[in-house]
Every structure is written in structure tokens, then in C-alpha cells.
Amino acid sequence: MKVYVCVGSSCHLRGSYDIINLMKESIAKRQLEDKVELSAAFCLGKCTDGVSVKFDDEVVCGVSKDNFDEIFSDYVLSKI
């Protein structure tokens, strides 16, 4: 699956850098490199609501350090 973390200005200010790092760590920890392709996206058009992440065609807003694990298991682990 493809995961895009928004690195547009809004998300960047809300911590997309942290989310990318968490994403990299979680993928590495579970050795999912072949299954999950991580890349950057520029503005997914949902700027008001925290960091936006697109899992294939589904955009999830408001991703933060606090809810990261939950979102990772709901949108990545449960689907691969």
C-alpha cells in the first residue's frame, strides 16, 4: 500500500516531520518495507485539522504523535 504524509506548510507546522519519523520507525520495526511505500504529499486539501495522511485513496486528518499507534494499526496493519 501507499502512504503519503502531507508535508504542506500547514501540516508541517503541526508536525508532519514527527509523523514521517514515526511512520518510518513503525514500518521498520515490523519489517513492512516491501508492503508499505512511504512518500510525501503536498497538501491534501484538509488544512484545518492537523497532519493529513493518505492511505492509498483514503485521507485521514488530525494524525498526531498521540493517536499515531492507533491510526497505524487501523489503517496499515489491519489492511495488509
Partner: protein
Amino acid sequence: MAEQNAKPQAKLRKFDTKVQYLKYKVLREVARHAFDDTLLESFNDIAKVIVTGKKPTMRCCIYKERAIIGERIKIATGGDRSNPNVIEVIDIACDECPLGGYSVTENCRGCIAHRCEDVCKRGAITFDENQKAHIDKEKCVNCGKCAEVCPYSAIANYRRPCERACKIKAISMNEETKAAQIDNNKCISCGACVYQCPFGAIDDKSYILDIIKMIKESDSGKNFKLYAVVAPSISSQFSYAKLGQVITAIKKLGFSSVVEAAWGADMVAYKEAAELSEKGFLTSSCCPAFVSYIQKQFPTLKDNISHNLSPMAEIARYIKENDPECKIVFIGPCTAKKMEVKLDTVKPYIDSAMTFEELQALIDSRDIPITELEEGVLDNASYYGRIFARCGGLSDAVAEALKEQGVEDFDLNPISCDGIEECRMALLKASKNVLPNNFIEGMACSGGCIGGPGCLTHGPKDKNQVDAYGKQAFEKTITDAIGVTGIGK
């Protein structure tokens, strides 16, 4: 009606000169009709909208004024396709200013001191029966010493403003038409003449029609995303509004997202530092006019030009790697960027370029009320990427990047060249192997990009504004700023 209301305000707050304002009005009207799909049928009406009334205000008669507007429309819609240069002379707009170098004016009082005669090493000064000075053109070499010493400032130098602006001597008079002509073999498209011609007879071609077409085809990002890559010098522009409001205005125009070119500058600084410490001597590659100058006038130094793309192209490449379907427009102060986007090395990444002047025209053509908009955000780059906009910023950034990469066995000794004349001196020395520095930061415009011809306004505080904008950056180091991009990991 809107025109009447907008006029005094727009002129006062938006531009340095009335020539810019005139150019802006043409661009705005062309854009308005292009957005409305009425350009073809209204082509001839635009001149009448701009030159109203029966009395001429700029030229001998309104018919000449309208004819010149017609030429401006041509340039606003892409200009002469057969001319590869983006800088073009409007022959009929050229006032054919007098030239002839130093001449004695009526202010000469026929004094007895004759300082002019004493200082002239060529013996070119003679006096008539009224003791008034004359300059023998056969002997005069235009050194200007006589003008300097005259107590009455009676000796004037008749040079055309365009020729004076063109420090690389690419402009001369066409013997036949007497109008200015540009030598494309020398011209680096820096646009200094565009900004300096008091009659607005030299202009940069505009590609706003291509841009408007992309805006329409993108259809608010439905068909493909349209990105605006904005130069950091924007911080000294649009002074009547907040930067965040300009960002929102760009999005309202139809751009999906606005990205800082300064972020590309962070990437460039990081890579440039590595390349420099490896090779030992480099010239910067950010300023396309400077790069073109080296290629045309100092071909022996070509191999020393940094192999990095410019910040504009670097960030665009990153965006296109992540979103191959998208289209990208650069917005900045620069006319030479319009040449750069045509290069084979840059073409795949950037689809078009426009100046801040053109952006202003586009925004106003859609009647977007900038000062009433809410503020958007633009924040990816670090302080160092942002200060690329002013002279010296690039060297500071490379020094920082060397530090962040822990390069200790390389002593950076940069020279920041402010304007093409300083570039020339440094390149001349480098070509003769007598330059003590190991990095030439070249900026063709005085002050760096903030002095660019496509700026709306130029002022002494511009540099401070760029620095202040840099300090507002969320990321404090280059490594942090480019962390998400995967470079430097």
C-alpha cells in the same frame, strides 16, 4: 468603474514607477479576458480601456499610445516567438534618447578656473570666444573627469538609461531605427534594462496565458494539482497586505498548493556544501543570469559552476517525484527565471514562471480582495533557505550546511557578489587564478533577488524584511528543514 477606484491606490501602494503600473494594467486586462475566454474578440478594445479620453498623457497622441499598448499586449501574450530571448525591445515605444557621451551644457558660465581643461589628460577641452568650454569628440574618451570637477555641474553625460543599466554591454543603438537593440549573444535576461527604461520600451515576455490555461485545466486540482513555488523575496513584496493573505490569494487564483522555493534553497545549500568541500572551488548556480553570464563570457569557468539545480528547480523536482501528474509555476522577482525554465535540465520540473508583477495582475484580474482574505501559511524552509533572497544569504547558508554536515577539513572563503559588476570582477580574477576565495556567490541583481526587475517595489528595508521572515521559520536548521525530503539522511 472599478478601474477608476483602483487607480490612485494601486499606483501608490503597489509599484515603484508609473511604467510598472502601465505594464500591470495591460497584464491585468489581458488576464481578465483570458480568464473570461474573451481575449480574441477584445484584443483591440484593451488599448482603449487603458488609454481613455482624447488627450495624450504619455506620448504625442492617443493613437501612438494605443499602438504601443498594442505592442505591450503582444508581449503580455508571449511576445515575438521567433526571438528566443525573454527580454524584448518595443521599437515604437523607444524614445530614442540622445546619446553622445559627455557634453557641455548651457550651465557652463565660462569661468576662468578651467578645471575641466586641467583635468583632461586628452586635451579634449577647448574654449570659444565667450570662454565657454567645448569637448572635442575625436579626443574625448568619456572618462568623466571634467564633469566631476566642474563647479557648476555643467557637463552632462548623455547615455541611454538602458545602456547604463546594462552593465554587460548587451544594449546598443540600432543604427537604422535609432531604437535600442539587444545582443542576444551577450544578454543574460537579468531585466535591469526593463526596470530602468523610463519609457517602458523594454519588456519581459509574459507567459500568463499558459499559466491561466493551466489554472483552468487543473480545475481547482480536480484534474491535476497545480503548485505555486514562491521565491523568498516575496517577504519584501506586497507590503500593503500580510504575506499569509497573498498565499490565500494565490490559492484563490486556482493553485492547489503554495510551496517555498526557499525549501529548495535548503536542499541546494546542503548539496552545494558537499560538492564544494569535495571540489574545492565553485560558483553558485542559483541565479540563472549569473550562470548564463559565466557561460557566455567566462566559458573557461563553466566546469566550476555548481552542478546543483537552482532552488526553484530542486524543489520542483522533489514535488514532481511525489506527484508526477502535477504542474508547477514559479513566482518570483526574476525575468531570467523565464529563460531558466526553458533549459533542458529544468524543463521537466517547472512548467512556467511569472514575476510578482504578473501575480499582482492575475490576482487583480479576478478581483480578489487580498487585504480582506484570511491568512494562509507558508512554512517549510529554514532561516537559511529564506535568506537566499538577499545578497550574502547563499554564502551564509553554505557555511551553515558545512557546519551541520560536520565538515571540518574545509575552510570556506566565500565572496558574495552583489550585482553583475561585482560578479564580473570576481570571475575575471578567478579566470586568471588570482581570486583568493573558493566560493563565488553570484547575484546579477543589486542586493540579490530582492533587487529583481519583477519586484513590485524596491526599497532599502527589503533586506531586513527578508531576514525577519527568515527568523520566523519553524525549522531552525537546514538539516531539519530537509529532513522530510530524505536528502542528508
